[in-house]
């Protein structure tokens, strides 16, 4: 028997949400229902309601925003997850698998909505998953069924007859951060720009909210704009939850040790290519030993930063290849193999082998230095890290760090010392020039401008300023013939301080 012919093929199911802010009364029923449905621990949130007070007396209003995962059609968290623990289901829901999460926090750094957190009890990343466990058995999400004003509507975006499709297609709806190219499937009806834009509202004086205080601490990001907000309507944040920066000092430190690991091989390799004796101990021994020690520290810091350190091997055994964390893991592993080969060849008394290995080592060292630029750029939420100058900057930084780290060893030969010192001074000068560009060129977005402000004159100014001064002092010390150890310490300390300011300031802007 012939199959019935359908004029229009059935479109696949595509779950989407509308939050009607014209109906929302800010009662937090959705926040509490979500907590009980998903057993969300205290201090973290899959969903909450942000309050912003707009206007001046007597013309005022309170604007609400139900804040949660935006169920992006192009989810940056999924692209950046190294093990595919964050994944997108066929029906469009962005879900997560806690059993393979390594806790690298790349998804948190990537999310432009600050909707992901590490569960303090099981140490895995989680967020709103559309109550997939309820949808799968035919129940609406917990927040939908408790909302007393029916302000949350879920449905199939491909079903023209659904209430959701009607709202999305015929009402005036908006999404958060459209410039991030994530194509959110959470639409807001009647939301105020002062709530949609995380820096449109001013941070309240003294950090006092309507009924709570803004927590302060090393990794905490205070909500609201600290200075003059991105809105002229006198908006002030009245309630928000605590937000944290995902990557702490370990990531700042990792970029620094990785720079040394790459540069300590690159500098002698370049010298060998330009005529240095291939049996010179700087190339034969110092390159693999200094780079190897720094690379081990790098890997140690990377693993130490995971909330599931014992699962680090999943990056290599089940890599998600779009993730620069997975790609970086492979690059660093291969680079480590080359360094080990180089060292073993030196031990075996075969100086010709390291020279042959150089053709693999050189590109791997360059990749190890620069891949972090793509890793940071994958953190879509952080505008400061989207700089196209970052790859050259990281390469120059690696050359400066490597040369500086080798200085005490090169000091045994005056000719070599002059060469390495000259290289360190030149690379550090170019690095300072690139930093000057980063700090002074106008930034394209209000977010990036605020991040640069936090770096140069705000929360991280002392790291930034001492970083610049120490690097400058290092260049001066090199030019005036100061002891090699002093030059090395000044340059390396300067680079570390600057890097910490850059990494932390990138995360210092509120996102929700």
């Amino acid at each position: 028997m012939a199959e019935p012919v359908s004029l229009r093929p059935a479109a696949p199911l595509r779950w989407a949400k509308v939050v009607d802010q014209t109906r929302c009364i800010g009662c937090h029923a959705c926040s509490t229902a979500c907590k009980s449905e998903n057993q969300v621990p205290l201090g973290v949130h899959r969903t909450y309601v942000k309050y912003v007070d707009v206007g001046r007396f007597p013309q005022t209003r309170r604007a609400f925003q139900v804040t949660r995962c935006n169920q992006c059609a192009e989810p940056p968290c999924v692209f950046s997850c190294p093990t595919a623990a964050m994944h997108q289901r066929a029906d469009g829901i962005v879900d997560f698998d806690k059993s393979i999460c390594i806790g690298c926090k790349a998804c948190i750094a990537a999310c432009p909505y600050d909707a992901i957190f590490i569960n303090p009890e099981d140490h895995s990343a989680e967020k709103c998953n559309f109550c997939a466990q309820r949808l799968d058995v035919g129940l609406e999400p917990a927040c939908v069924v408790v909302c007393p004003t029916e302000a949350i509507v879920v449905g199939d975006l491909n079903d023209g007859g659904s209430r959701l499709a009607e709202l999305v297609g015929r009402d005036v709806v908006a999404v958060r951060r459209p410039e991030k190219d994530t194509k959110p499937k959470l639409f807001y009806k009647g939301a105020h720009q002062a709530t949609l834009d995380p820096i449109a509202a001013r941070r309240p004086t003294g950090g006092i909210f309507l009924w709570s205080e803004q927590p302060a601490g090393p990794q905490l990001v205070a909500s609201g704009h600290p200075g003059s907000p991105n809105n002229a309507a006198s908006a002030m944040l009245a309630y928000d939850v605590a937000h944290r920066a995902p990557w702490d000092y370990r990531v700042s430190l990792y970029t620094w040790t990785k720079g040394i690991a790459a540069g300590a091989y690159l500098v002698p390799a370049l010298l060998v290519l330009t005529g240095l004796d291939p049996t010179s101990p700087l190339w034969l021994w110092a390159a693999p030993v200094v780079a190897g020690v720094a690379l081990s520290a790098t890997v140690g810091l990377l693993i130490g930063d995971l909330t599931h350190p014992a699962r680090f091997y999943l990056v290599l055994t089940r890599p998600q290849w779009r993730s620069w964390l997975a790609r970086g893991g492979v690059i660093l592993s291969l680079y480590g193999v080359v360094l080990a080969g180089h060292f073993l060849a030196a031990l075996a008394g075969r100086p010709d082998w390291p020279q042959a290995l150089l053709w693999a080592g050189l590109p791997l060292a360059v990749l190890s230095a620069v891949y972090t630029a793509w890793l940071f750029a994958q953190a879509k939420a952080r505008d400061l890290w989207q700089s196209p100058l970052l790859p050259p900057q990281l390469l120059v930084q690696a050359l400066a760090s490597g040369a500086a780290a080798l200085l005490p060893i090169a000091a045994s030969s005056p000719v070599l010392l002059r060469l390495v010192e000259g290289l360190a001074a030149a690379a550090t000068s170019v690095h300072l020039l690139l930093i000057a560009g980063e700090a002074t060129i106008a930034h394209a977005t209000a977010h990036a401008r605020l991040a640069a402000h936090e770096m140069t004159s705000g929360r991280y100014r002392w790291y930034f300023r001492s970083g610049v001064l120490l690097q400058g002092a290092g260049v001066l010390a090199a030019l005036t013939g100061s002891p090699a150890a002093l030059v090395a310490v000044l340059m390396l300390a300067g680079i570390l301080a600057y890097e910490h300011a850059f990494v932390q300031a990138g995360q210092a802007v509120p996102l929700a």
Partner: protein, 80 residues
């Protein structure tokens, strides 16, 4: 003595209690009400509410599976 049934599957606190109270208020003393819920939180909710409610008495609570295979929580109440 009549037995009424109330289906509150899919809803969460406080809807199961609210709907049960509306139903109980319209019943005669001695009548029974069987509430079927999918919310695990409804178990302590009904215990707590019947402790203070004027007209409702909790006779029995048990779990089971409904026709779709979902876990359900069944509460048997009596109008006082």
């Amino acid at each position: 003595m009549a037995l009424r049934k109330l289906d509150v599957r899919g809803s969460k606190c406080p809807i199961p209690i609210v709907k049960a109270k509306k139903e109980i208020d319209a019943m005669a003393p001695g009548d029974q009400l069987e509430v079927t819920s999918t919310d695990a939180g409804s178990v302590p909710d009904f215990q707590g509410w019947t402790r203070t409610a004027k007209h409702a008495l909790l006779k029995e609570q048990h779990t089971g599976k409904d026709e779709t295979g979902r876990e359900v929580y069944i509460h048997l109440l009596e109008r006082k």
